[in-house]
Amino acid sequence: MSQAVIKVEGLTKRFDDTTAVDAISFAVPAGTVVGLLGGNGAGKTTTISMLLGLLLPTSGTIEVLGVDMLRHRHRVLTRMNFSSPYVDLPHRLTVAENLTVYGHLYGLAGVRRRVAEIAEALDIAQFLKKPVGKLSAGQKTRVALAKALLNKPDVLLLDEPTASLDPDTADWVRTYLETFRRETGATILLASHNMLEVERLCSLVLMMRKGSIVDRGTPAELLERYGRDTMEDVFLDIARERRTGGVADAAD
């Protein structure tokens, strides 16, 4: 297995009496797409927020690209990026203005050229002068993805990247992500509860329930372990606690 780009050990987040993430450990090998799969409230978004430094963990360690994220996250933030349907880009700014601002924040050389390039790649060139607030959900998702890919990140964290998209747009986004990973060798951690997406994109799946990783493996391994034909059935088995795989604590 190639070197781990993301290493998480004993990561825990408690809000008062609620444990949102409970001592999880995992590693994401370089150049892979790893899926965090779980129902609502499983702890996926909380985990991603902690990886990004938006949320401070109660305990545990996070290492990204060899850097301790709790102490020195600014050393690697230029090499990371993120997209989530729950975090907006300013609606009153145009697409071009938003991408220009983020291009400068990420210290890109030739921001104008890069904005044109990413707009072309994500088929949003025709919206560049439109305010983000006036775009459709699908268009906004593509703009958010453009922002997330603007700095050609080595590590990309995506929180439900196709949530609320129609099947055609969702398929387009997945195809683009596959191409991006293949061409750049980027490492992607993807939180989702879309089985199709996880099955298609991910080489490793971490199954989360109530803040814990209850199982992990490749989609094929999970299907075999649970004796199911689809990841959706595996998901339901785990979500309804019909069975656990029993390898959650296995070494990575």
């Binding site: 430094g53 933030l77 975090v87 601002v101 400068h104 990420y106």
Partner: protein, 265 residues
């Protein structure tokens, strides 16, 4: 890795894009300072014939209202630019980028300076033909008054930002009302000596009271009160350091509570 001028400029650019994209926002910047100036200009004209105190320095009330607006606009400039991020739910994107809190605050202050100048300069210029009073006649001390008041606006704005980070948008009205709590003790339109003894002691803890007292000394006695300027500057340095500490504390509290992602209404 230290602070990046480019990232600060990027954030100023972000707020500039927002401002230039809306003519009502630009108009609003100059609207209240101008209306206030005109109102106090007429009051001054009336008072000049009915008050020996005002008659000694005809522009004292106009100067006071213009400088008060520097403080108010300075604070509002920081708070409103911050609120723009809350309203647009953009904090999550900003703080997964390499932007550091200190760079963001510097951008908020820079934008506050731009907004304050855009708001107060038209009103100050209009006072010259309409009321025959130019605040620019104060000369260099005006720069010291302006500097101290805008810095006070910044640390007040930063404290308000910290409170909104802690308590969410339920506390956003503080951005518009908090500064007025300090107006009576800032002695904007009257000398500090008018206040009761115990309130005078409170007034002298505010840089604004020293600035307005210094302004009146300049206008009535043609004297530059370096002591007041020194007090105002010293107090501003102390309060700015304290406000920065409070802001950073509440920023980290927001990171512990997950509030950077859960912004908005």
């Amino acid at each position: 890795m230290g602070a990046s001028v480019r990232r600060i400029a990027a954030m100023v650019l972000r707020y500039w894009y927002l401002l230039r994209g809306s003519w009502p926002r630009i108009l609003e910047l100059a609207y209240w300072p101008t209306v206030q100036m005109i109102m106090w200009g007429f009051i001054s004209q009336f008072m000049a014939t009915n008050s020996t105190w005002v008659a000694q320095a005809a522009g004292v009330l106009i100067a006071a209202v213009l400088l008060w607006d520097v403080l108010f606009r300075g604070q509002l400039g920081v708070s409103v630019s911050f609120l723009e991020e809350m309203w647009s739910r953009n904090l999550g994107h900003l703080f997964v980028s390499p932007l550091r809190p200190g760079e963001w605050v510097t951008a908020l202050m820079t934008m506050s300076l731009i907004r304050t100048l855009m708001g107060t300069i038209p009103a100050a210029l209009l006072a010259i033909p309409v009321f025959g009073y130019s605040i620019f006649d104060m000369g260099l001390p005006l720069a010291a008054f302006f500097g101290n008041l805008i810095v006070m606006g910044w640390w007040l704005g930063l404290l308000i930002v910290a409170l909104i980070l802690r308590h969410g948008l339920g506390a956003e009205s503080l951005a518009w009302v908090a500064v007025f709590l300090l107006a009576p003790v800032s002695a904007v339109y009257y000398p500090v000596s008018v206040l009761p003894g115990w309130l005078q002691a409170v007034a002298w803890t505010l840089p604004s009271a020293h600035v307005f007292e210094g302004m009146r000394a300049l206008m009535f006695e043609d004297a530059v009160r370096w002591d007041h300027l020194a007090w105002a500057t010293g107090l501003n340095i102390a309060y700015m350091a304290a406000a920065a500490g409070v802001f950073l504390h509440f920023f980290n509290v927001a990171r512990r509570r997950g509030a950077l992602l859960q912004t908005g209404e």
